[in-house]
């Protein structure tokens, strides 16, 4: 996943040599991945076109959201009241930003320590069979659709938080944060384990040979070496958490006010967009406010993705 696929392709038994029995296969050196495709080769052109499609779509999405967000009056977005109904609507987004912030921070506070622990166990401590079982389980969990997590949050996590933590409603920031943590944990753990695995074994062997205990090796050699990759995985989890919508609609409670405590219901930015976009007429202040929030989410998740990719690539290259 983090390594370039090129070396492994060269070691695999390839197709029969294209240039007759005398031609060298595999060709010397990595095949050219960059640069102009030779003219007249349709498969290459198609691949180039497909490659250009993704940035083109991304640019179109950003442009569309920018246009819908309208111009002027951005200051109102920093108000403390989100009240889209009635004759005097107010579109202060602070309650929604606070909701997203509280839920995502809670989720990361659970996911990151638990995920690092699970990843260390997977990579360094687990016996082969339970380790493979956990990895398989995590991959399964990562494939569960978010609406199913929402149902689980609504049916199990919410009532548990209500009974154990004494929240008034089954819907609360805490319930939403814990549900989100369950959703982020599998992917974060697998990515973190990936980074830990890329630590070169000579480093580990050297540490052990110098008399370091297993614990010292893990905490002083393996973790620091893999830290950029783990931080990258956490940033990816953060972006994914900010963008989660369905589970937030079902578990957070959607009360757009600054929450006095984490046990109170909150509304996230994504939930507000999902709830309200259907009733906001194009070009109206409400519509523009929702698109401005969407733009903020888009920019934030693009930045997080880019930062995460950079950090994780750094680890992969060093490995």
């Amino acid at each position: 996943m983090v390594r370039s696929p090129v070396p492994s392709r060269r070691t695999r038994p390839g197709p029969p040599p294209p240039g007759g029995p005398g031609a060298a296969w595999p060709p010397p050196g990595p095949p050219p991945l960059r640069g102009e495709p030779p003219p007249g080769r349709w498969p290459d052109r198609c691949i180039l076109l497909a490659g250009l499609l993704a940035p083109a779509i991304l640019a179109a999405v950003v442009l569309f959201v920018l246009l819908q967000a309208g111009s002027g009056g951005w200051a109102g977005l920093w108000g403390r009241e989100w009240q889209p109904l009635g004759d005097r609507p107010r579109f202060g987004a602070l309650p929604l930003l606070a909701g997203t912030g509280a839920v995502t921070a809670l989720a990361l506070a659970v996911t990151v320590p638990a995920g690092i622990g699970a990843a260390l166990w997977l990579v360094a401590l687990a016996p082969p069979v339970p380790g493979r079982a956990l990895a398989a389980l995590l991959r399964l969990m990562a494939a569960v659709p978010s609406v199913v997590w929402g149902l689980a949050g609504r049916g199990i996590v919410g009532p548990l938080v209500q009974d154990l933590a004494g929240a008034r409603y089954p819907q609360s920031a805490l319930a939403a944060g814990l549900t989100l943590a369950l959703m982020l944990l599998p992917t974060f753990t697998l990515l973190a384990a990936d980074s830990l695995r890329s630590v070169p074994s000579p480093l580990v062997e050297a540490a052990l040979a110098l008399g370091a205990t297993r614990w010292e090796t893990l905490t002083r050699v393996v973790l620091p070496w893999a830290a950029p990759g783990v931080v990258g995985a956490a940033l990816l989890a953060l972006g994914r958490g900010m963008g989660e919508t369905m589970a937030m609609v079902m578990v957070a409670g959607s009360v757009p006010s600054l929450p006095p405590s984490l046990l109170e219901p909150v509304e996230t930015v994504t939930a507000a967009i999902a709830w309200e976009m259907g009733e906001a007429l194009a070009g109206q202040p409400h519509y523009q406010a929702l698109y401005r929030l969407a733009l903020g989410l888009l920019v934030a998740s693009l930045a997080l993705s880019a930062a995460a990719a950079r950090l994780r690539r750094a680890v992969a290259v060093r490995g």
Binding site: G86, D87, Q171, G253, V255, E276, A280, L281, A282
Partner: protein, 301 residues
Amino acid sequence: MARPGKGIPRPAAGFSFLSAALLLLAAWGCGPAGGEAAAGAPAQRERPARLHLAGSDTLLHLAAVWAEAYHATHPGVTVTVVGGGSGVGIQGLLLGVDDIALSSRPAGAAEQAEARRRGFALVGTPVARDAVVVVVHPSNPVVSLSRGQLRRIFSGEVQNWREVGGPDLPLLAFSRGFSSGTGQIFREVVFGPGEAGGDGVVQVPGSALLHDEVARQRGAVGYLGLAYLTPRVRPVAVAARDGGPAVAPTPANLLTGRYPLTRPLWFYTRGEPQGAAADFIRFVLSPQGQRIATEHGYLPR
């Protein structure tokens, strides 16, 4: 998502389907189809009439049933119905895309002004009524709530049933989401038209989910459309003003209009309804049309 043009069906596709259906009808048996069309509207034989309805999701289901029943007796007229919300429907009417806008609220002043600017008036015809029932957990001893109490409960002020004459029990209020027609009636009747409010409590995405929250928790209160009532929740009587008589949502009270949480549902047209639209509205208001409304959980107008 909310762009007014979204719900417009492609005319070409609709037309070709329609002509195919008509061709089929003609090939099968000209006799009965021709006779009926001649009796109903002779001018529509050469060019089939087409009515496009759009708007309120609350009215969507009923309008679709009406359209089907009408098409059964008037095969020359095809009625298409799409949802999207009352505002979307009226916007489409202003732009000339819809023939009839479905609305769960009267047209606003801005919408009327825009219509005048375009040289016509928005004319609304009430076609049915809809009711919202306030429900509590069956074990809750509270039998009635006033409009003022509902207002305080659903703005999030009330924390305990003691504050509204009930037992010492934490109060949990659940409301329907922003785009819900049920939520709109409730907000309009309880908080007044144009007033903000009703978002100080937990929003639940769907009437069935709200029903489950109320059925599961002793201190819960919420509101539902008539069709969602079950023995697992108990409706409470509602007093239009504090100290006034509380009216329970019994069939008799609903039909006579004494129950306060009801509202008319409207068909809006550009000017007085004419041609096929007028004929369709006549059908909707006929005893058969109104019977269809009651059979599908709405109240007659």
